[in-house]
Symmetry: C2
Subunit: 466 residues, 2 copies
């Protein structure tokens, strides 16, 4: 839903003065021409307005900013790369924007533990680069890597294509530094292999979408990149066969690190719009309804294991295998180009859900039938992370704020025991759905925790909790 | 410290009546002869007394019990297998014992996701058995597996020998069912691959040692057991070489699933007391100061990778390799028999710490020097999980409550930036240390969270928080 940006009143002069003193004259932006870019998300679906953008340089300045805002009861939206998809990082109710963009340091890698500390504003890609330069890899990866920041990935417990192997961001986090709503700093960045001394603050703040604390740095576990990677595009009879195949591959291929789902109509449109060759122009593959992009890593070449695992799969119509990076990248295009092709059909209504394996085929069949009943001009696009049961439902031909579409999709998700947010979070977009997704007691517990850590409610007050 | 069990006053009759109504006449134990066994830990170091032991049969009964206790302001100690090492599951201040022992169900395994739901009182071993019967494995394992319960492993975020590969209990947890202090039930057991709908309650309750909620069930991720396992006992010049070797193995062996440290004097005493053959009776191995038990799994036989990885290690004096289970078990004896041999030297003072890799050698050299300065009759025993930097420090020849020993060991741990509790938790034993291990702000945040979830402070009130 695009909200009209009504300019909120300016900050009281003493507050503005205190913030300038904290971060320096140049880093408090109040000119609407300069703040406007911070007030709208990259999709343009969530547009607000802010009296000021504050750009602290380090943790001490973040603490000073929050102490000032807390003292004056001023609400704050923490912002990293602003690449979120649920309106969680823009000032929709006139909040001050606290940009973490200047905290960009990526520290040295511990050679035994394979960990590094990254500041909140460091782009995800900069962590990938630092890891790669030392022969390591960071497991969390997704398309917005050049803009999305580590702080944002922690705040949203970001996922991506390798979750089935390594887990989401919370699984990589061995420590955190964060500033509480009143400016107190919590720092626990030793990254010890085991540390059972009190409650898991890092895991709690991770995924809390800026409502409990402002992340300033994260200690991250790296992984050893595989020496060999085999990539295969597998053509299957239908989604049910793809789900069953996942069960086989998970057992047979310990190096399975991605299993991405694409459907026949999406693949066809991607080929057409992007001028890509059909991957299976003839034979049974041409009649397949579901395609899975499988990536398997190994210390030794896993080609034979992959081939053997394919032999166990029912409903397998054809396989295209890539063993060099160029060929693998060409296979990934069939999955990755979905977003741009969908965008050519108008601004999509984006939903991101998890479905239990047993219901995934039913969901993929039902959504294209249910959505047009709610919005006759709608076209649905389904693709996503089969390995996690995570389907990205994109709907074009509708208003991006169409609540009937939400009802058709998310209502069905809840009927099937799925999650209304797999990896994007609740943000502003799904706040009213939280009470349908989680029990009243669970939401009460969330509120108790929020009140305990942010009693004045100044941290991202219009996000997550309804 | 052994506390004298002074019998607390009996429960008020209306409370006892209400509890009997909730769980049945037979499952409220008030006879001191019957409750005594629940009031002391298995090591005998922590002995208390309780007016009653309540043994609910299911989650609804747990909820009823807690609602009754909350209404009357009665403090409760949740108890699983009572195998903890820090006095966290016994009624040291006259609390009611809430035994989860009757909630023993282990559910079916989802064949695609590889997950199961286990009730709190299910012994860890029963989960191993259920997993193995279906061709899976559960990653958390340790010696007390037949008695320790799933609820206890969740409450303490239990670790064990495979943490370096799969993480601690928190890393296996995909959902939780728990009862809050006032009897409200939180249940989120769908175990979806991704689910970013609110705060991570499962991760927060995990490791909270019964102070935030009573775990009644857990949804657990299983792992695929490797088809091949190679076990090697590696003799190294010293601890510094062992740490460096870990760095090499972590990089070269993606299937590395255990790396356990044993020192020369401990190994010698184990061989002597248990009548085991010296593993390296001759040559350089006989002069080694540090030994690492390495376990490497793989879908294919990793023997060649293991051999190649050993070639890269400096200070490697000798290696004994086992490829069949019998030989592997014989190698594991050198590590596992430490506990029983130490016990023959009198009741040990047990400490469980994590040391950063860079300081591990220094710590292992310093502790045997520092402890006797604090307690001249002391003998120190060091062994543990090298892969996590987790050293179990056992001290014999001292009173198990000797605070000077704590100061000598834990004080040094803090100087080195380590953790005073790797995997055992804080419990009663290390409460007064929490404020030295975590900053004042962090302890304040812990208190805020405790107050939010258990405002009356009835859940395990004498554990974790000082």
């Amino acid at each position: 839903m695009v909200l009209m940006p009504v300019l909120p009143p300016a900050l009281p002069a003493p507050v503005a003065d205190a913030l300038r003193q904290a971060v320096g004259e140049r880093e408090l932006l109040v000119d609407p021409d300069r703040t406007a870019g911070y007030a709208v998300d990259w999709t343009g679906r969530y547009a607000g307005a802010t009296p000021a953008v504050v750009r602290p340089a380090d943790t001490a300045q973040v603490a000073a900013v929050l102490a000032i805002c807390a003292a004056h009861g001023i609400a704050v939206v923490p912002q990293g790369g602003n690449t979120g998809l649920v309106g969680g990082s823009v000032p929709l109710a006139g909040e001050v924007v606290l940009s973490l963009a200047r905290l960009r340091e990526v520290g040295a890698i511990d050679p035994v533990d394979g960990q590094l500390t990254a500041a909140a504003g460091a782009p995800l890609a900069s962590v990938h680069q630092a890891a790669a330069a030392a022969g390591w890899a960071y497991a969390v990866d997704f398309a917005a890597r050049d803009t999305a920041t580590i702080g944002g990935t922690v705040a949203t417990n970001a996922g991506g294509v390798h979750v089935l192997r390594h887990g989401s961001t919370r699984g990589q986090l061995t420590g955190i530094e964060a500033v509480l709503a009143d400016g107190r700093v919590v720092s626990h960045l030793a990254g010890l292999g085991k540390d059972n001394t009190g409650y898991d603050l890092a895991g709690l703040v991770c995924g809390s979408e800026g409502t409990l604390a402002v992340v300033t740095a994260a200690r991250l576990r790296l992984v050893v990149p595989p020496d060999h990677v085999v990539t295969a595009l597998v053509a299957l009879r239908d989604v049910a066969d793809a789900v069953a195949a996942l069960g086989v591959w998970r057992r047979a291929l310990p190096g399975l690190q991605a299993a991405e789902l694409v459907l026949a109509d999406g693949l066809e449109t991607v080929c057409e719009h992007q001028g890509l060759p059909r991957p299976f122009p003839r034979g049974a593959g041409a009649t397949a309804r579901a395609f899975v992009l499988v990536e398997v890593g190994g210390a030794s070449d896993p080609t034979h294991e992959v081939a053997a695992a394919m032999d166990e799969v029912a409903g397998l119509y054809d396989v295209a295998v890539a063993t060099d990076p160029g060929a693998a990248a060409r296979l990934w295009c069939y999955r990755e180009r979905h977003t741009v092709v969908i965008g050519e059909h108008g601004p999509p209504h984006k939903l991101d859900v998890t479905i239990p394996a047993a219901s995934l085929a039913e969901f993929c069949a039902e959504v294209p039938a249910r959505v047009p009943r709610a919005a006759p001009a709608a076209r649905t696009w389904l693709f996503g992370h089969l390995g996690d049961g995570n389907i990205h439902v994109n709907v074009t031909g509708v208003d991006p704020g169409d609540v009937a579409v939400d009802e058709a999709v998310l209502g069905h998700v809840l009927e099937l025991g799925g999650s209304i947010s797999a990896e994007h979070g609740i943000g502003t977009a799904k706040r009213r759905w939280l009470t349908r997704a989680r029990s009243p007691v669970q939401v009460e517990v969330f509120r108790s925790i929020k009140a305990a850590l942010d009693p004045a409610g100044i941290l991202n007050p219009n996000v997550l909790l309804p």
